[in-house]
Amino acid sequence: MSSQPFVFEPIASRAPPRPVGGLLPWVRRNLFDGWTNILTTLLLLLLLALALPPMFQWGLMHAVFGADNAACRAAEHHGACWGVVAEKYRLIFFGRYPYEQQWRPMVACALMVGAIAASCYRPFWRAWLLGLWALVLALFFVLMKGGLVGLVAVETARWGGFPLTVMLATLSLLIAFPLAILVALGRQSHMAGIRTLCVLYVELVRGVPLISVLFMASFMLPLFMPQGSTIDVLLRVLIGMTLFTAAYLAEVVRGGLQALPKGQIEAAQSLGLGYWQTTRKVVLPQALRLVVPATMNTFIGAFKDTSLVTIVSLYDLTGALQLALGDADWRKFFFEGQLFVAAIYFVFCYAMSRYSLWIERHLNTGTRRE
């Protein structure tokens, strides 16, 4: 038997796999992966190259930053005039509040924003937070309204700017949230009468625009009051905004209630818990956690919607800007002012949406599988 002895011949080794980490592979994968991708990248780069330099030049290079009207007029059309902000920022932030008293709204705002920031921090979610809010709200109104502890009284008609925006948003949400929970529970109730009332309220309010609710608050609420009593315009608008927001929040909460498995309620009942105990200890903690993103979206919406009070002649941040631009000298630089106010709204709304993502992740640590 003569046969070739079997010789082991290894096949050629393969090339190492392409690296997937690092900058270059990332660029290849995300920007130059295939013809359509390359084309898109080039097109967008061209677009950016055309759009960014003029924007940069307008906004920074040729811009006027000081409150110098003559320089602004000279720079018009090729440079931004941020001077309008430098000149009018007090009016934009505080509206028609008396000029020499404007430290009061500033402190009041700082307190309110501080309370909001404290409420965002989870270890602070204790009973004392409610006390803190009561204190901060009381201080806010004392500072804004005055007439106490030697502060000059300032009528609500002169309140404006950022404090007004923050106050309307915060107060309407603080009142609307409990109301919304009640309405959502009512809508899930087995009692037909209460259910109908809640459905009617929610559907009626959600069917109409906020503007019409605000018009109603400012034109019709005075007629509702008994003869001889008046109701402050801020309070009227606040009532309108609260009722409006509560209807939307109620739908959000109802979504959470519906998503809860029925077994949870049955288990609570079999443990002998009554309706309110079941609701408070079993249903709401789980239901509200489910709807955190939607709730935060409603909050952001409510914050943006405060700008609508401009239309019923209140000078919130948007309205105060219109007031500031009433000055004929600076009227031309409307756009820069608008951008500035848009940036303020953006910062707050963006912070809220980021916070919503964060809190959603942190509340769901118990149920997440990872």
């Binding site: 109409v208 625009p209 018009f215 034109f219 019709m220 007629l223 609508l308 948007t318 949406s353």
Partner: protein
């Protein structure tokens, strides 16, 4: 004891004495003690209704008293009186001697005109941006993300002010209007563009296109039936387009190919003729489209991401082409997630069109407030606004629910 069943009770091994026979159900008796749920829920409801009714009665009484004291008249009789104000723009011709009813109708038509087009444009733009956010291309992805973040986080009212500024202040005056195309004028006074003059021949064009549409639908159904019977695909999109365009063209040719255009011409002071869009209309349309598109983009992205990746793998394993996969597998499942929130965005857009009052576009709210200021009938005017929007909302949600029912999961 029933026939043929072992008597479990006596055979029970658990209890040597056997289980006592079940007690008879207690007689059905209405329990009206304080502990009974029936009584308590009845009471709660009576109390709630009584509270609401008495509050309503109190407010109504106050209102009537206040109106009597201030000499405010009430009732809808003012609707037939002449309005006494002109309306800047309308598709229904209107002049100030016509009645308030007509003015409100113009307002509703203006609201509808801007929201309907806004819904179509926002859906298109939003869908592109939503898909763009899922692109493999980093630049496209982040630009679309920046778009969504920026436009969602700035109030619509402010955006409307900014658009209005851009469209009225930065554009040239009418004398030196931009002319991107011959016959198109773009200036502070809005956009003027040529429109075809109506000729009898156009009727034939329309007839041809309608016939083409019918035939295209027929062809689509036919091909689907063929596909389901034999598994063979026939082209649908191209023949349908060809039918529509071809028959339209044929009708146009048969009608004597009317080509007369109403081209706007610049005179010394103004541009006359042609179709035109006012800056107010463009502002509201632009603002609503751009703002709502950001929300729609998020909905579309969420809907696409809600389809599990396994569906894509499964359709590849079945040998579906990319187009078929999107059409037959991905879209039907994504749409189910997309449609309900999309409905509420459409409703929001319609309701947000009421912000038009801020830039002076004569929509329903703007006309109502003008009427309110002229007649002092606050309750009636606000009731009209609310009734109109409520009707619009209910109609839209009814329509979208009907569409949603078609896209729902078909379960046995």
């Amino acid at each position: 004891m029933e026939q043929g069943r072992p008597d479990l009770r006596t055979a029970s091994a658990l209890s040597p004495k056997g289980i006592k026979p079940a007690r008879p159900a207690p007689p059905k008796k209405r329990d009206w003690s304080w502990r009974s749920q029936a009584l308590r829920s009845l009471l709660y409801q009576v109390v709630a209704l009584a509270l609401v009714i008495s509050a309503g009665y109190y407010l109504l009484g106050n209102t009537l008293e206040n109106m009597r004291l201030r000499g405010i008249k009430s009732g809808f009789d003012f609707l037939v009186q002449p309005a006494g104000f002109g309306i800047g723009e309308s598709i229904i011709p209107f002049d100030s001697s016509e009645s308030y009813v007509k003015a409100f109708a113009v307002g509703v038509s203006n609201t509808l005109r801007v929201s309907a087009l806004g819904i179509v444009l926002a859906t298109l733009l939003g869908t592109f941006i939503g898909i763009g956010r899922l692109s493999r291309n980093f630049l496209l992805r982040s630009l679309c993300g920046a778009y969504v973040e920026f436009f969602r986080n700035v109030p619509l009212l402010l955006q409307l002010f900014i658009w209005y500024f851009i469209l009225t202040e930065t554009l040239p005056t009418i004398e030196e209007a931009l002319k991107p195309l011959p016959g198109v004028f773009f200036s502070k006074n809005g956009l003027q563009f040529p429109i075809p003059l109506w000729a009898d021949g156009h009727a034939l064009t329309l007839a041809g296109m309608s016939l083409g549409l019918v035939l295209a639908v027929w062809w689509g159904r036919q091909s689907r039936r063929h596909f389901e019977a034999s598994g063979q695909l026939r082209p649908v999109a191209l023949p349908a387009l060809a039918l529509l365009a071809g028959l339209g063209l044929l009708g146009w040719l048969l009608g004597g190919s009317p080509a007369a255009l109403d081209i706007p011409e610049s005179t010394e002071l103004n541009v006359v003729g042609g179709g035109s869009l006012t800056p107010e209309y463009m502002t509201v349309l632009m603002g609503l489209t751009v703002y709502t598109a950001a929300y729609i983009a998020e909905i579309v992205r969420g809907g696409i991401q809600a389809v599990p990746f396994g569906q894509h793998e499964a359709s590849s394993a079945l040998g579906l082409s990319r187009g078929m996969e999107v059409r037959l597998v991905l879209l039907p499942q994504a749409l189910r997630v997309i449609i309900p929130p999309m409905t509420s965005q459409y409703l929001n857009l319609t309701k947000n069109s009421s912000l038009a009052v801020a830039v002076g576009y004569p929509d329903l709210v703007s006309i109502s407030t003008t009427s309110l200021n002229q007649t002092g009938r606050a309750i009636e005017c606000i009731a009209i606004i609310m009734a109109c929007y409520l009707t619009l909302s209910l109609l839209t949600s009814w329509f979208m629910n009907a569409y949603n029912r078609r896209s729902l999961l078909k379960e046995r």
